[in-house]
Symmetry: C2
Subunit: 161 residues, 2 copies
């Protein structure tokens, strides 16, 4: 039971795209180069984010990706959901019913508990957004390193039209 690395990659990819000025995009290749993972796989992850309406993709030459929403409106939970899907952490296999020969699925002892736990877990991930994480970066990272990354983004981005 471990979170996919794709979630981590997604969050940082989005944080990277958050550096872009309006209307500019960054190609998947550049993004993957900055993240450091395998390029083709990160492209796949980016497409998931597009399908989840978190990113906009621009095809064709000078194409690439940019945020679709304001960073305040992108919750970390949304990113998780886009990559992991909406299935819950725990899914009962019905042992309880079988063991007690219950006909109706009235109560599921563990399911209720697990759902409460997962809900509690989600609430933390819903609280934080790309904007809040970005702010945290600005406050806690050496300005130098941060500026260096921003410079790369500004150098590699392209405007459409």
């Amino acid at each position: 039971m471990q979170m996919k690395t794709g979630v981590e990659q997604s969050v940082y990819a989005i944080l990277l795209l958050n550096f872009l000025p309006p209307k500019a995009v960054l190609s998947g290749e550049i993004i993957s180069k900055q993240l450091g993972g395998s390029p083709t796989y990160i492209q796949k992850i980016l497409r998931k984010l597009v399908n989840a309406d978190l990113l906009i993709s621009v095809p064709g030459i000078k194409g690439g990706f940019r945020l679709k929403k304001d960073p305040e409106d992108i919750r970390i939970y949304d990113v998780y959901l886009a990559v992991e899907g909406k299935q819950s952490l725990y899914s009962s296999s019905g042992i309880f019913y079988d063991m007690l020969n219950l006909k109706e699925k009235d109560i599921c002892l563990l399911s209720d508990l697990m759902e409460e736990a997962e809900s509690s877990w989600q609430s933390i991930l819903k609280r934080e957004t790309i904007a809040s994480l970005s702010k945290e970066i600005n406050n806690n990272c050496p300005k130098e390193n941060l500026q260096m990354l921003k410079n790369i983004v500004n150098e590699k981005m392209v405007y459409k039209g």
Copy 2:
């Protein structure tokens, strides 16, 4: 990212063993028959619970398993831990450091958040125990079905010595 079915099996196996009178044991085969899973695999799960000090195992003829602790002292989280291990749900692959060229692992943006979320998740699983779940069963299940299960346990259990 899904919880192992072994966790569910473990919880219900323990709830089953909670019906036993003191000093009595139930063999792995009987337990697996009640749970309905594959016998050999459930034996493996039971051994994990023994290693985690949740169960006591008695080898030899008339051997089997019984609880090692009071049901009040077995938290659902303990069961989870015994089966899933103590690794956290999220583990950073260090993208953040690489991206910003940080030397020291001062802050990990996502790790802190994910740890908080997991901690919140765990607190729910730590709150509930085998005793509390058992109580809930007694309150919410048809007495008939419950008694039928208890009868099977009483029939199949063996005393040592």
